[in-house]
Each structure stands twice: as C-alpha cells, then as structure tokens.
C-alpha cells in the first residue's frame, strides 16, 4: 500500500492504532536542489553508492540507477564513490 490515505475528520481515522500504509507515497525527490548523475563509463559497479544511500534512492541493480522520485540530494554517493564517477549537478 503506497497510496496516500485521505483523513479529513475523526470518522476517517482507522479504528485501531495500526499502520495502514508505507511512507513511500511521500516523494522526497522534491527536497533536492542538486542531482546526482552517474557516469556509467567510469562506474565499476562496486555498489558503494547503494550501500551508503540513506534514502534507498539507488537501485540494487547492475548498473545502479538513481531513483529520482526519492533522492534528497545529500551527495553521500558522490563523496563515497571510489572512482568519483557521480557528479552533483545543480537543479532537478
């Protein structure tokens, strides 16, 4: 369940204190003001960017891809990349 639940009044509140959905409806990509761009020619597929992404915004695939819906633009991936193939570019 990733849809946002519309709660307008007490009657919309769930009857039990249990979670109804995941936070993945919250597209945190809008927080970003710098965007990571991977240079796939230099990338060695070491997956360190995936390992250190606090927002899980880099896919665990070969090659790794930035999930721009969720990337907050912290720049940890660019800093940690051993071959410096990720560049933080201004803007979305």
């Amino acid at each position: 369940m990733t849809e946002k639940i519309d709660i307008r009044g007490a009657c919309d509140m769930p009857p039990m204190a249990k979670s109804l959905g995941r936070m993945s409806w919250n597209k945190t990509g809008s927080w970003r003001n710098v965007t990571p761009v991977i240079d796939y020619d230099k990338c060695t597929r070491c997956m360190l960017c995936w390992k250190f992404c606090p927002d899980l915004a880099i896919s665990c695939t070969d090659p790794p891809e930035i999930i721009l819906d969720y990337c907050k633009g912290c720049g940890v991936c660019a800093e940690e990349c051993p071959v410096k193939c990720i560049e933080m570019k201004e803007g979305l």
């Binding site: 109804l20 959905g21 390992k51 695939t61 969720y70």
Partner: protein
C-alpha cells in the same frame, strides 16, 4: 529490472522504504537500514521520542517493514521487556525484541529503565544510535555530547567542558552477556554485531555511532566520511565486550589526527590549537586504557589475545600524531 549485482558485501534485502522523513545524509536512517538487514522480518521495535519517531512518518503510515511501537521517552527498555515477556507468555519464539533509542533516550532519560532491564537480564536487544545531542528537538546538549562540542545549550563561548558519558562501561558493569559499539560507516561490522547479538539470550546492548549533518554543522555529503574518521582517529573505538572480555575490533595501522575529524564539523570550529591538542591527549589516554582493558580481561579469562597485532598497532599509535595526513 536488471539483476542484483553479485559482489555485495551486505544483504540486498531492504526492510525500510524510501520516502521517510530523515534529513539529507541522515546517519540514523542508515543505521536502521543496516540493523534491519541483520535482524530480518521477525522483529519488533519500540522507539521512544528520538529522531526515529519522526523519521518513521505520521500515523497511519510507517517506513519500517516490521511492527514499531512509539513509546514514552523514558520507557524504551521497559516496553521492550514487556513485549519480550508477553511474547514468551503466548509461546512465540524467535522474535527479536529491539529497543531503538537515541543517545538522549539512552544516556539521560532512559537510563533507569535500561539499567533495570540489564539488571534483570531480560531478553532484549537495546540499540542506541548515538548522534551526540538531542538532534530531534534542535541540537541540545546530552550527556553523550563529547568534550568541546558546540550545541544550542552549550554555545561556542561556553562549550561542553565535561567528557562524553561512557555508556559502554556502564553497561559492562551490569554484567550482561554482550555489549558492543559499531559505526554506521562500517556496515559489515555493524551487521555482524547485530546478527551476533540477536542469537544471544539476555540483555544485549549495541551503541551505533551515527552522524547528524544538521546538528554537527557539516555538509550532508560528509555523513559517512565523518563517522569513518571518528573510527580512524580512535574517537569512536569499535569494541565488543562478551561477558566482560573486551575486544577492540578495529585497530587502524596508522591513526589519523583528531584535527582531521574536527575540521569537518562546524560544532568544533571554535576550538583553538591547544584545545585540539588537549582532545588528542584525551583520545590517546582513552585508547591506552582500552588496550590495557583488552589485555587484562583476556588474561583473566585465559583467552588468547592477538598479541603481535596489538603491539604493532601500539607502535603505529606512537607515531600517529606526527604522521598521516
């Protein structure tokens, strides 16, 4: 989607989802991600007031793929004991009950409940992610704030003059089976320690060093680098204490001077050369104490110590202040 790469050093399964409310470069979010990779889906969390009670998201949403209880500030360990006892009563075995608290909820407000749980040796895993102040409420001093640090309640002119509370030794004094420290820049070590702790019966305590870019006044891209430096400068030693026997897991051959770590962070920007020197001395004194503890506790337990390794790193330690840039 392309296939999963083969050379991963940590498990690929994720039990937290994107879209959580952590700041950019949050160390606590990474710590939770790694801890859950080790614990797996059969886990219950209790979280007191701390950053993670915000990061998880507003009701009725959650970030974690496992049940999570939001609990009062002082009650993390007490509620975990209750959950553990309740699960035992209904006959459910193999569920990891984890109390997940920040350093304020552990070292200041939650310490009586934690001490009680440790004294009873209830079957819980207590994880403290230590970002060295009350970050959630806007960087107030906690007893886990290190010497010399700026916070809003210890401003630069009157920076904190007392050392960080040594929670590891407090927990060791309770004679619980497992106490460890980890750092979120070394996920393999963190995952190994959490996996080890979950199979031990009794109270387990792990303190994870997690960076907080807004509270430490540094750029978010240094979140992991700063923590790695904290380990390599020996400010944050990675320890394991099993039944009172200390083991230092990481003895870097060449130590980085503490100035490298301090200059990354705005919260130490006011320190003078002499004060940095003083901090270096404090770190070295603490490291020598730990080396002594490691040696003497191994001797007392009759366990072999990786002796040559320790001696070699001590030599490296002598030349540390001078060398390595």
């Amino acid at each position: 989607m392309a296939e999963v790469p083969k050379k991963l050093t940590i498990p690929a399964e994720e039990y937290i989802c994107s879209g959580h409310l952590a700041c950019q470069g949050c160390g606590a979010a990474l710590a939770m991600r790694y801890a859950l990779k080790a614990l797996g889906p059969n886990t219950v969390y209790t979280v007191p007031a701390c950053c993670w009670s915000v990061i998880d998201g507003p009701f009725p949403y959650t970030t974690l793929g496992v049940p999570l209880f939001h609990i009062a500030f002082e009650a993390a360990a007490a509620s975990a004991c209750g959950l553990s006892a309740g699960l035992e009563m209904v006959g459910k075995k193999g569920v990891n009950v984890v109390a997940w608290a920040g350093d304020g909820g552990t070292a200041d407000i939650g310490i009586q409940a934690l001490s009680g749980a440790a004294e009873r040796n209830d079957n819980i895993l207590y994880i403290c992610y230590d970002n060295e102040a009350y970050m959630n409420t806007g960087v107030q001093r906690s007893s886990s704030t290190p010497w010399g640090a700026w916070t809003t309640t210890t401003p630069a002119r009157h920076f904190k003059k007392r050392p960080k509370k040594n929670l590891v030794d407090i927990m060791v004094a309770h004679q619980i089976p497992y106490v460890a420290t980890a750092a979120m820049a070394f996920p393999e070590d963190l995952i190994r320690k959490v996996s080890k702790a979950k199979d031990i019966e009794g109270t387990k305590y792990i303190q994870i060093f997690a960076s907080c870019p807004p509270g430490w006044r540094m750029a978010p891209e240094y979140a992991v680098k700063a923590v790695r430096l904290a380990v390599n400068t020996r400010i944050w030693p990675q320890l394991e204490v099993e039944h009172g026997v200390y083991t230092i897991n990481r003895k870097p051959r060449k130590y980085t001077p503490v100035a490298e770590y301090l200059k990354l962070q705005g919260r130490f920007a006011h320190l003078t050369e002499e004060q940095i020197e003083q901090m270096q001395e404090m770190v070295e004194r603490e490291w020598d104490r730990l080396l002594f503890l490691e040696k003497s506790t191994h001797e007392m337990a009759g366990l072999p110590l990786a002796g040559e390794k320790a001696a070699a790193s001590k030599e490296g330690g002598a030349g540390a202040a001078a060398g390595q840039g």
